[in-house]
Each structure stands twice: as structure tokens, then as C-alpha cells.
């Protein structure tokens, strides 16, 4: 073999040896891992999450209703009740008590009157509808 090939072979076998050493170290270290003194001295029963057997359905007691659950239930009930009670607002139509042939709902009445703003006393024409004055105009004579 050439000098370079011999060096490559030597390097490869050296590295492989070191790798095997590393693998051996890791394997042995797994056996020696411990998480508590009990485990170190071999006093734990098992290494799983549940020390011993898995819990049976009868072992865990049912959770009591907490104050939080009560408040949540009350909140949802209040929301449901207010949503169920939603109605369109009632509108009222209130007619007169004493009818008059002068007053017709929706029909305007015009009144000729005088403005009292200043002593000029200009004439006015007032349009009144449903009891409200809605237009005031000057009235030329």
C-alpha cells in the first residue's frame, strides 16, 4: 500500500476504536443514571411515572364543583336569559281624547299671526302639524 493509504487506514481504525469506546461508555453510564438517593441505592420499586401499578378508575375521587364552576354556570345562565328576553320595543300610538274636525293627524294647519320680536309686528304665516309649529314664514300683505 502507498504511504498515504497506510496513514488513512491507521487513522480510520484509530477513530473506530475510539467510537466503540464511546459507545461502551454510554451503555454503561445508562445503567448508572439515578434521579434520587433511593434509586441510587436500589430502593425504588419501579422506574415508571406511576410508582407501582397504574391507578384504577375507582382510585381517583370525582372533582367537587368549585366556586369557579358555580360562577361560570351563573354567568352562562344570565347570558342565555337576557338573550331569550330580547324583544323589539313596543311603540305606542296615542290619539286625542276629544276629537276635533280642525285637528287631523298629519294634516298641517296654517295660522296667520304676528311676530313679537320688535315693535315692527311683521305678519307671519305659521305651519303647524300635530301640535308642533314646523315652519314660520313671513307673510306679505
Amino acid at each position: 500500500m502507498s504511504r498515504d493509504a497506510k496513514t488513512a487506514d491507521a487513522a480510520r481504525s484509530y477513530h473506530e476504536g475510539r467510537r466503540e469506546e464511546l459507545v461502551q461508555i454510554r451503555r454503561s453510564r445508562t445503567d448508572e443514571y439515578w434521579k434520587s438517593p433511593d434509586e441510587l441505592h436500589g430502593r425504588t420499586r419501579s422506574s415508571g411515572e406511576f410508582g407501582g401499578a397504574l391507578p384504577a378508575p375507582g382510585d381517583i375521587p370525582p372533582a367537587e364543583a368549585t366556586r369557579r364552576d358555580f360562577l361560570a354556570l351563573m354567568g352562562f345562565t344570565l347570558g342565555a336569559a337576557s338573550l331569550a328576553g330580547c324583544r323589539a320595543p313596543v311603540q305606542h300610538a296615542i290619539p286625542l281624547l276629544e276629537s276635533s274636525d280642525q285637528i287631523v293627524p298629519g294634516v298641517a294647519n296654517y295660522y296667520a299671526t304676528t311676530c313679537g320680536g320688535c315693535p315692527s309686528a311683521c305678519s307671519l304665516l305659521v305651519k303647524q302639524r300635530d301640535g308642533r309649529c314646523i315652519k314660520i314664514e313671513g307673510k306679505d300683505d
Binding site: 305606542h92 296615542i94 290619539p95 286625542l96 281624547l97 276629537s99 287631523v104 293627524p105 298629519g106 294634516v107
Partner: protein, 191 residues
């Protein structure tokens, strides 16, 4: 098993969505609204059995955009002379004696962006029952028509066109009962 559960959930979701869409499409439509009134006035007794004309009480419909609810004195025109005594008539007398107008609950209400004029329709010969239903058979007034724009347009489309030919126009002008001319453009009602 799991696939059936998914199908059930999807079906329920579809039902709920369908109900929601249907409900939203009916917002603002008060067909079937039949509220309790402060005095239980029966139209079937007054307009039905006694055949009082609609316009005797709702006289504003002839001249105004509002049909109006009659004042309590209109009721007393007859009831001051009648011997019939019921709880409701007693409520009427009490309201007049105490000077308190009766706060009736509005049944037919159009939105504010619509202009509806009763006198235009009454004077064109539209019968009250065409829009308000068989009032003379109701003990408590309810809204029977949807009062939507589409429903109004159904009648307006039928009566919109004036004839343009001379002969038809002559016939129309000479006929004793005027044919209604219903506006069909937007500004007829929305102004």
C-alpha cells in the same frame, strides 16, 4: 363510528346556519305581530257584526298620510247611549273621566325611510282589507301582510302604467271610477 359523529356534527352545524340565515332574512318583517292592547277592542264586533265603516272611526285616512286611531270621544258617540257594560268599556269611561288618553300599541309600522300616504291609496279605491287583511273578523288586530317593499311593488307593478293611446286615455278620463296610478320609481315612496 367516528365518521358518523363527524356527519352528525356537520349536519347540526348546517341546520343552525340555515336557521340563522332564515332568521336574519326576516329581520324587520313583523308579519304575525298581534300585541295586546290597553283596551281589548274587538273589530269583529264593531266592523263585523255592526258593520261600522272603517272610515267612520279612521276618518283621517281620507285626508292624511296617517289613518289615525280614533279619539275616545268617537267611541263615546255611541257608547254614551248604549247600555252594554263590560270591563273594557269601563276602562274607556275611566280614561275619559280621568282625562288620560289611551296609549294604543302600534301594530303596522313602516320604517322611517318609507313615505306611505293613506289618503292616496284610499282615494284611489284600494280597500282596507287588501293590505290589512280581514279586520272585520279579528278580535285582536294583527299584521297579516309582510309590508315589505317587494310586497308593495307587486300591486304597484300591476297598476303602474297609464295608457298612452288616445282612445284608452279617453276611456280612462271618462270612466267614473278612476283607475289608480301607482308610482313605480324609487322617489314615489323614498323621498
Amino acid at each position: 363510528m367516528r365518521r358518523r359523529a363527524i356527519l352528525v356534527v356537520l349536519g347540526g352545524f348546517a341546520v343552525v346556519t340555515g336557521l340563522l340565515i332564515w332568521g336574519l332574512s326576516r329581520v324587520g318583517i313583523h308579519q304575525g305581530y298581534r300585541p295586546e292592547q290597553p283596551i281589548a277592542f274587538p273589530h269583529n264586533v264593531h266592523a263585523g257584526d255592526n258593520k261600522i265603516p272603517c272610515l267612520y272611526c279612521h276618518s283621517a285616512a281620507r285626508t292624511s298620510r296617517h289613518a289615525g286611531i280614533p279619539a275616545a270621544s268617537v267611541c263615546m258617540n255611541c257608547h254614551s247611549m248604549l247600555e252594554k257594560q263590560t270591563v273594557e268599556i269601563e276602562k274607556l269611561r275611566e280614561a275619559i273621566q280621568l282625562g288620560r288618553p289611551i296609549a294604543w300599541v302600534t301594530v303596522h309600522k313602516l320604517p322611517d325611510f318609507v313615505y306611505f300616504n293613506h289618503s292616496q291609496h284610499v282615494l284611489s279605491g284600494v280597500r282596507c282589507q287588501q293590505c290589512h287583511g280581514a279586520i272585520e273578523e279579528m278580535d285582536r288586530v294583527g299584521q297579516v301582510s309582510p309590508l315589505t317593499m317587494g310586497w308593495c311593488l307587486n300591486c304597484h307593478r300591476e297598476h303602474a302604467n297609464l295608457p298612452t293611446e288616445n282612445f284608452q286615455r279617453a276611456v280612462l278620463s271618462l270612466s267614473s271610477s278612476p283607475k289608480p296610478v301607482a308610482g313605480l320609481d324609487c322617489a314615489s315612496c323614498h323621498y
